[in-house]
Amino acid sequence: MNREIFIEPVARVEGHGGIEVIIENDRVKDVKVDIFEGPRLFEQLVVGKSPEESVSITSRICAICFASHRLADIYALERALGVEPSPKTKLLRRLLHYGEMIESHALHYYLLALPDYFGYPDAISMINRFPDEVMGGLELKKFGNLVMETVAGRRIHGENMLIGGLGKLPSDEDLDMLKAKALQLIPTIERGIQLWNEIDVPAYMEEETMFVSVWPEDGSYGFEADTIYVSTGETFPADDYKKVTNERVVAHSFAKRCRYKGKPYTVGALARILNMADRLDGLAADYFKKLYNERWRRNPHYNNIAQAIEILFCLEKMPSLIDAIKEAKYEPVKPTRKDGSGTGLVEAPRGLLIHHAEVKDGLVSYADYVIPTTQNLDDIEKYIRNAAEALLKQKVSEMELPLEMILRAYDPCISCSVHLVKVIRK
């Protein structure tokens, strides 16, 4: 019973992950993350490809956060090729990003996390007790999709966002339609946020940790930047990402893990909201202040409510963003050089995502991607171990769900998978 942990560096892992908790003599002996996702070798697939092809290929890394991957790749390659996109392009990218945040967070909060807290196998079963909330969640998810469809061309793997510009600009009518819908949905997410009050957040795993996120230079709350912020107060330029992530190969596992200064850290909605709390405004700030307490810094479950607040944030920002898009000037921009390297930093819904690319003679020569889940794994293990120790006395079958919920709180791409945690008592 000595298995090794297997995580592909850029793997998307939904449905293919598992965590094994081994208990021996009433002590937690081992917590193991197994990820069965087959290797797809993306970093190798793009070598020799043109930058455009790289962008198309890397958005296939993940369906739920294809836009983040695509944007991270575009940023990395634009930096490498000396492209400074026009204002409209930049703003449309932000809109796409908001769409993805809303879609992904709504999917996770309403369809995957809430059923756990309320004791249902899925959202469909939850519908009888919370019809408005569940339908509202679907409504939000649908809106997120609509935003992505409008801006990127389709809900998943939309090809419209290109290096230096777009294939086709969305029409003003379409944008106005999005704006109107965003305003309509604000009360929906408010109701969703209020559900949190009914939840008794488990406390058995609590422990302090570090939070890492982007740090937009203009002082706003946001999802893209050239700077990384660590909750210790330090900042790093994008190209120095390795100083933070410190990807290393652990002895017992083939997977790379990340630690900052030897300590595990957390990325994601919770990290963003704690790091950039001062930068929130509007209703999002109000709800955050109302719901915040010191436990947020010790308990990963609060990632879920952070997601809900971020949905609200995106909806609130959307109208002014859309106005700005309509005003802004558009111009497609061509690469100014054929060689270079660059790092793209974005916040995927589940946390900091880094694409680093090097281009030689117009073709990608090297690529390195650091995905949020890799960064969270050590913290996930830590919290699961804490919880397992606290719940030791319980029956195995009763332990599994609480442990699974911790993993799921991270929305770690494997969140959709069930029976993730296997407790083995020896």
């Binding site: 298995r3 090794e4 297997f6 592909e8 560096p9 998307r12 939904e14 449905g15 293919h16 197994d34 069965f36 996702e37 087959g38 290797p39 797809r40 070798l41 993306f42 970093e43 190798q44 697939l45 490809k49 043109s50 092809e53 198309s56 290929i57 296939r60 890394i61 993940c62 369906a63 739920i64 294809f66 999917l107 369809l111 059923p115 196998p121 899925d122 469909i124 079963s125 679907l138 409504e139 998810k141 649908k142 999709n145 061309g153 389709r154 809900r155 998943i156 793997h157 939309g158 090809e159 419209n160 290109l162 777009l166 294939g167 086709k168 190969v249 083939f254 959709c416 998978s417 069930v418």
Partner: protein, 265 residues
């Protein structure tokens, strides 16, 4: 006939096809109503793996021994097995270098030693049909909602659907687009299965072929046409390969080798 019992499964891929099923927001309840969903791990933790299935939808490529075992189990218990998405139907982008015998090399470049993995042995990614009988396919990276609902509508009555015999260009013309090939851009529409509704050409972006190669494609003609438009053969061959799947990878070998001969002259 009672409600057909179905299962939705994922092997190695980006889960986009399953996600797009979940993305059928307005129709999801209806789908749960028409079918008895026995397993859909991505959407529900209620599952029943023992039962015989009328239809199994499988996404993803076979990329590990574990994938293969899982697939064989699913095949055994299902009457109709439907491959959904490019990975399941053609192998996915991860199979673009299929057959060039360097897979282990690339693998080691990412993972270091080949022996370091003991969890489940990795396999070179392949489509489902490389291992089991597949009764119907819905290509696409990812699948689209409308074709999926149409497929589901057919399967709801036990009718096994077929992919259309016409390429993206047909849908592109239905949408009244100008042809990008004529404008000198690289568009894989003529070689690609229809179904997406010609999304990309409608946005002035050449089709990259994500619905996979259409049966009996005329790759030679398109390749030569693009060469006349000023692309070089390697560039064209590379583009063809990205979503070309396993079969085209084979065909491309001769395409590339003959072009090197040509340019050697």
């Amino acid at each position: 006939m009672g409600k057909p019992k179905i299962g939705i499964y994922g092997l190695t891929g980006c889960a986009g096809d399953q996600l797009n099923i979940i993305n059928c927001e307005d129709e999801l309840l209806k789908l749960f109503d028409i079918f008895e969903i026995k397993s859909f791990v991505m959407a529900s933790s209620a599952k029943d793996e023992e039962i015989e299935l009328d239809v199994a939808f499988v996404e993803g490529s076979v990329s590990t021994e574990k994938d293969l075992e899982h697939l064989q189990e699913i095949r055994k218990k299902s009457k109709i097995l439907v491959a959904i998405g490019h990975c399941a139907v053609y192998g996915g982008v991860q199979s673009m270098f299929m057959g060039n015998e360097e897979w282990m090399e690339r693998y080691k470049r990412v993972y270091g030693k080949e022996s370091a993995v003991t969890l489940t042995p990795p396999l070179e990614p392949k489509p489902l049909a490389a291992y089991v009988k597949v009764d119907a396919v819905l290509p696409g990276c990812p699948i689209e909602k409308e074709p999926f609902l149409k497929l589901a509508g057919k399967l709801a009555h036990g009718v096994v659907p077929r992919v259309p015999d016409y390429p993206v260009c047909a849908e592109c013309k239905w949408k009244e687009n100008e042809c990008l090939l004529l404008k000198g851009e690289i568009c894989l529409g003529p070689l690609t299965n229809s179904g997406c509704g010609a999304i990309c050409p409608s946005m002035n972006i050449g089709c990259i072929g994500c619905w996979g190669p259409i049966a009996k494609e005329n790759m030679k003609s398109e390749a030569m046409l693009l060469m006349e438009k000023g692309f070089d053969m390697d560039e064209v061959a590379k583009r063809f390969a990205i979503f070309g799947g396993v079969e085209r990878a084979e065909a491309l070998k001769s395409l590339v080798s003959s072009s090197t001969k040509e340019s050697g002259k």
